[in-house]
Amino acid sequence: MNDIPAKPLPEISNLTKPFWDATRSGELHMQKCSQCGHIRYPVGPVCTACLEPEHTWEKMSGKGKVLAHLVFHQVYHKAWAKEAPYSVIMVQLPEGPRMFSDIEDPAHRYKDADLVGREVEVRFRPMSPDIVLPWFKPVE
């Protein structure tokens, strides 16, 4: 009866390996340009501000603020069939980048809530031996 497929997982590339290495250690890291200091996300081969390839991976504070809170009632991928309606959020990190993530919400507490403006903190969810996915928990 278990016909719910696994969620899609990313291929780890040379470019993205440090991101996934960090999440496996319970940290959120992003690339910081060695020339101009711009912190970029999504992960990319060169700085989106100055095209410089040299960069370091910096630990983010893990704090953030919700910019948008979408609730997916439609199941676009069967892997989400059981947990729909589920919340996807756009998070503003204090370090500058924005990212999409989700909120673990097995009891559907946030289905009818509006979390825009709420402070959130990063948490980590193991998906496979290699992939640990960052998600965000509203600060109570």
Binding site: P8, P42, L70, F72, H73, Y76, Y86, R98, F100, W135
Partner: protein, 380 residues
């Protein structure tokens, strides 16, 4: 030197729309091509340029132009396929105009066909780059527009009932269009009672998924004189893009649309006050609100109240999507918006004709809010 009014659309063709079992993107495009040739009074060998958009069910992908040309038995002087989702139709119209101006072709057919409804297109790829958003379930066509609606509601107090006004207007217009797929009128309450797809967007905020084919033929205004029907002038053209998503703080507000619209108005020497009717790309209701603000029909943040009280319905101040749009006529990814613009400028629209309409704004936008364009069509 400005291209304003130097090019005209001389033929349009649209197949039946909806669920067309057994049809393919290729044969729907070919039928639309035949219909557009007939509309223009042209033979296929009069066409020396072919620009196509591969349908979501076209197996040829970016090689679609070769397959289409082969199937039509045409060796064009100029051809290409372009994939910008709902931004493609307008971008190809502009490309046709530029190619003709440059002497690369004299008469260009722009063609699209898709069997998205019966061919099982899912429009639900996980989007994003390396570390894709799909990992968190941020997928499907509605996601990015839901983001736009969510932010608009938070910044400006826009309501779901105001989004409903767009759906109601499009459906009312579709009810006056015998070729539209969804013709049963709806109310704001019907919209409010429809289920959430991606909150804050409900089912009746969403466009259809359809089978169909559309073609329009562009030539120089000089050559257009001898055509079967009155040519419609391409008076203004503009495009605007953002290639970014998360790194663009204005991404959800699609500010790049403003550049597209400003260029189109400038080329046409027109202002929003000169526009009698508009075909605004409506993959979701929120998109119409954003176009209204960026075009300057209302101020930033005020589109929600602008669309209330029937203002964008036929008989209102600015009739929008007079054939029903992507929301209710058929989801031809904006191609039918150009067809309706041409028909309004020709005065062919019968019950839904905007009386004495002289200028029509047509917009398109595609991919993850990225690709925008605007065209002003003018009655000759």
């Amino acid at each position: 030197m400005s291209l304003s009014d130097k090019m005209s659309i001389v033929g349009v063709g649209a197949t039946a729309q909806g669920k067309l079992a057994g049809r393919t993107s290729l044969d729907l495009g070919l039928e639309a091509f035949r219909l557009a040739l007939d509309d223009a009074g042209l033979k296929k060998n009069d066409v020396d340029g072919i620009l196509t958009m591969p349908g979501t069910t076209s197996p040829e992908g970016s090689l679609h132009y070769i397959r289409f040309g082969e199937a039509a038995g045409i060796d064009p002087r100029y051809t290409a396929s372009l994939t910008m989702g709902g931004g493609t139709a307008g971008a190809l119209l502009h490309m046709a105009a530029m190619a003709i101006e440059a002497g690369m072709a004299t008469t260009v057919a722009c063609v699209f066909g898709d069997a998205a409804k019966s061919g099982g297109s899912r429009f639900a790829r996980a989007s994003g780059s390396d570390i894709g958003w799909g990992l968190w379930g941020m997928m499907g066509a509605a996601a990015n527009s839901a983001l736009a609606a969510e932010r608009h509601m938070h910044e400006f107090g826009t309501t779901s009932r105001q989004l409903a006004e767009v759906a109601v207007a499009c459906r009312k217009h579709a009810s006056m269009n015998p070729d539209a797929v969804m013709r049963e009128p709806i109310t704001i309450e019907d919209h409010q009672a429809s289920r959430f797809i991606v909150r804050p967007l409900r089912l009746l905020d969403c466009c259809l998924i359809s089978d169909g084919g559309v073609c329009f033929i562009v030539t120089s205004t000089d050559r257009a004189k001898d055509r079967r029907k009155k040519p419609v002038l391409v008076s203004g053209m503009g495009q605007g893009y953002t290639t970014r998503h998360l790194e663009n703080p204005d991404w959800w507000y699609v500010s790049h649309q403003k550049a597209a619209l400003a260029d189109a108005f400038k080329m046409a020497g027109a202002t929003p006050r000169d526009i009698d009717v508009a075909q605004l790309y409506d993959n979701f209701t929120i998109s119409v609100l954003l176009w209204l603000e960026h075009a300057g029909f209302c101020k930033k943040g005020e589109s929600g109240s602008f669309v209330e009280g029937g203002r964008i319905q036929l008989g209102g101040e600015l009739p929008v999507n007079t054939a029903g749009g992507n929301l209710s006529e058929s989801y031809m990814e904006g191609w039918l918006h150009i067809v309706e613009g041409v028909r309004q400028m020709r005065g062919e629209c019968g019950e839904r004709q905007v009386k004495d309409a002289e200028q029509c704004l047509v917009t398109g936008r595609g991919m993850a809010l990225n690709c925008a364009n605007a065209t002003i069509l003018k009655r000759q």
